[in-house]
């Protein structure tokens, strides 16, 4: 995804003069990656993903003064989205997504469309989906993911390892989960 050259300028405009046009440009630029990320988080419910993405942008608009500018704006949006999603899980009381043992892996996928990574992703826990998506689809390092999800780097590594093990079993593909080559 191409970067937004005048991003800082747009953020400043929103903060100083409450410029809706500037925020609109930010929304247009980041809607696709944010929705991709939300769709992975809330897979396979695209409608829920869009609701979370909407709420993320509203929260970002409300709390833009808290954006310190240390991390990338996209990382900050992903962080808000993740916590929005966790809040949704708590509301709907889907506790097995939040903690506990590994989610049950249905054998339905085995022998079906083995390359259907999106279908297999549904079988992972939210934290595993988030870590894997952030690393492989968006190229974040373990340290960056740790900041986005607000969990230690070691936990990120184990989420990725466990997630990959499950995916490997579901999709019946080769995976070297011991190496965990983070995009550094």
């Amino acid at each position: 995804m191409s970067s937004l050259t005048n991003e800082s300028e747009l953020i400043a405009k929103v903060l100083i003069s409450n410029d809706q046009q500037a925020f609109s440009q930010l929304v247009k630029h980041y809607q696709s990656p944010l929705r991709q990320y939300c769709r992975r988080l809330s897979a396979p419910d695209h409608s829920l993903a869009d609701d979370i993405a909407q709420e993320t942008f509203i929260q970002a608009y409300r709390k833009l003064n808290l954006y310190a500018g240390k991390a990338k704006f996209q990382s900050w949006l992903f962080r808000i989205a993740y916590f929005q999603f966790l809040q949704h899980l708590r509301k709907t009381k889907v506790y097995d997504e939040l903690d506990g043992d590994a989610a049950y892996i249905s054998p339905d996928l085995l022998g079906a469309d083995k390359r259907d990574i999106e279908s297999a992703m549904v079988k992972l826990k939210a934290s595993e989906r988030a870590c894997i998506t952030l690393q492989y689809s968006f190229g974040y390092t373990h340290e960056e993911i740790s900041e986005i999800l607000d969990v230690p780097t070691g936990t990120i590594k184990s989420h990725i390892k466990r997630g990959k093990e499950k995916l490997s079993a579901l999709l019946n593909v080769q995976s070297d989960t011991n190496t965990l080559t983070g995009v550094a």
Partner: protein
């Protein structure tokens, strides 16, 4: 790199906007409207508390007297201004709901402009 890494590293499909941004802006405007209404309600509540707790009638009388003096100093419309202000003050004191309504309208207009 292995098979799974290859699969996972495949770029995600780009999602077309299809009115999503407009919906976000619409929701933002709704949020701002709700915020303005909330601020208006808080201001009105505080004003009501202020009016009912603090004895404002002496202040209003003082304001009326000041208006009379100002009217006399300006000369021509002294009698008119004196009568007018006195009538307004009497109306506010006799009909607090009218005063409340005026305050409501003023606050709503300011909130709308803020929005």
């Amino acid at each position: 790199m292995n098979d799974l890494d290859d699969l996972l590293s495949q770029p995600l499909d780009d999602i077309p906007d299809q009115g999503f941004s407009l919906q976000v802006l619409h929701n933002m405007q709704q949020y701002r409207r709700r915020k303005a209404m909330f601020i208006t309600a808080v201001i009105l509540a505080l004003l009501c508390i202020f009016i009912f707790i603090v004895p404002i009638s002496p202040w209003l009388n003082m304001f009326s007297e000041l208006a009379d003096v100002a009217g006399e100093l300006t000369g021509a419309s002294a009698e008119f201004s004196s009568v007018t202000y006195s009538v307004i003050m009497q109306q506010i004191l006799q009909k607090p709901m009218m005063g409340f309504t005026v305050l409501l309208i003023i606050t709503a207009v300011f909130s709308w402009q803020e929005n």
